[in-house]
């Protein structure tokens, strides 16, 4: 058994900046090199390298600036964290070795935890659909995934996808029946235990921020 502190998740909807900051710092210690965040020199290389920064409301550089200004709420409410395609261009070019992409993944999880996003939000809807299928079958199932996703967000788009869908079916590139792994039941037991493990947070180290 691990020695750790079982902490309840911060009250849902808690927007207190202090709570958010504490939570943020807690998570950052789990990211390798996460503490390099301190060393950001605001050079903007991350923003310049990002292929999607042109549609972001808060650029990667500004994300770090906002954190240091004590305004995590703005980051969590931005479109930015959901537009990130996780291409890691920012991470490999950062002169201070800040793991920008992994920080953004962490911010996505925080935003979900704090419920600061609309429920029909595309990326969240896609993630949730994927997770529900993967948990059940142990495998992905594209048709099911896309149907669930488009029903949750914009059913009209489902219709627009039909021509491409048919072309792919004709070439045997669509699995029409979902496949289930043999150990599906064992997997769900593993995942239940993992849910409990998710809540165990190691004691935070000294944060010198």
């Amino acid at each position: 058994m691990i020695r750790g502190i079982v902490r309840p998740v911060t009250e849902k909807g808690s927007n207190k900046e202090l709570d958010l900051k504490a939570r943020f710092l807690q998570h950052i210690s789990n990211i390798p090199d996460g503490k390099n965040l301190n060393k950001c020199i605001q050079c903007g290389t991350c923003t310049g390298s990002c292929p999607a920064s042109y549609v972001m409301d808060v650029t990667p550089r500004e994300v770090i600036a906002l954190f240091r200004a004590g305004d995590i709420r703005s980051i969590l409410s931005s479109r930015t964290i959901w537009i990130c395609a996780s291409c890691y261009a920012c991470t490999v070019r950062c002169p201070q070795n800040i793991p920008v992409t992994d920080i953004i993944y962490m911010l996505k999880r925080m935003a979900i935890e704090q419920e600061i996003f609309p429920k029909r939000f595309p990326v969240y809807a896609l993630s949730r659909s994927f997770v529900s299928i993967a948990n059940r079958y142990g495998r992905s199932f594209e048709p099911g995934l896309l149907i669930l996703y488009y029903l949750k967000t914009n059913p009209m788009n489902l219709v627009k996808m039909i021509p491409l869908f048919l072309k792919l079916v004709a070439r045997g590139r669509i699995m029409v029946i979902p496949k289930k792994i043999k150990a599906a039941r064992a997997l769900s037991e593993i995942l239940s235990e993992a849910q409990i493990m998710e809540m165990i947070v190691p004691a935070p180290e000294e944060y010198v921020y």
Binding site: M1, I2, G4, N30, P32, P51, A52, V55, W82, I83, A85, C87, Y88, A89, T91, V92, P99, T101, Y105, K108, R109, I112, P122, V123, Y124, L126, S127, R128, F130, V131, A134, G138, R139, S140, F141, E142, L146, Y149, L164, K167, L168, R171, G172, R173, M175, K179, I181, K182, A183, A186, L187, E189, I190, L191, S192, E193, A194, Q195, M197, E198
Partner: protein, 289 residues
Amino acid sequence: MEYTYYPGCSLESSARGYDESVRFVFSTLGCDLIELEDWNCCGATYYMSIKETISLVFSARNLALAEKSGRDIVAPCSSCYTILYKTNQVLKNNPIMLAKVNQALKKDELEYHLNANVRHPLEVLINDIGIENIRGKTCNSFAGLKMAYYYGCQIVRPDRGLDDKENPIMMDMLFDALGARSIYFPMKVRCCGGMLMTTRSAVALKLNKEILECAVENGAECIVTTCPLCQINLEAYQDRINKHYGTDLHIPILFFTQALGWALGGSDADLGLKRNLIPFQLADKGIEV
């Protein structure tokens, strides 16, 4: 040589041509690919967005199963490769996380001892078999065919120790040795948008247009890639890009093993070439050696 084969979900559906051609290439070169028994989905980027520990557990189950055989894992899908590799790395560097993950895996009597090694077929072919040996087994030459080698993000970033992150050259070296001609292609590692094609298609269409145009403007006759999502993003939306941007793109996108397999004498069926949406008759381009 023997490897544990981790196809991943895409290779059983949208990227079947990749699966077929990887198997063909490896068997022609005398290597055994033994599929990991009852593997589960790696989780892809969707899972990391939701719950960290759970997503690591999900992916680590495969590592725990694979380490039993002692063979290296070969994962063709760039995304599966990077997720499994990343899971391995996180667990190697974070003993608390490893303990949490093993606590969960215990429910099916599994335990991960950090002995798995995750590799990509491109690197395996070049490092374990060697370009000269591969060339020795080819029977078709590309005869100066101009190819754009598109690496995308996942196999070069963040650092996987595989190749240079800004200007990787593994595919360049391999195919140039087989008679192809690489072109100047600065977009070789530029992101294709990945899942943005579903969630924010306008952004992804723009990114793909830029990559395709860059290849075409520099004279590419085809684009060769290592990632199922890149392949489908680049291939299946050229019509939409043409409609939206007034371009006239119609360039075939192949998995690198489809091209390599052809050089090794594979038929269209061996390589799943008929599954590609934009047909490409390699036989017309190359010459028999």
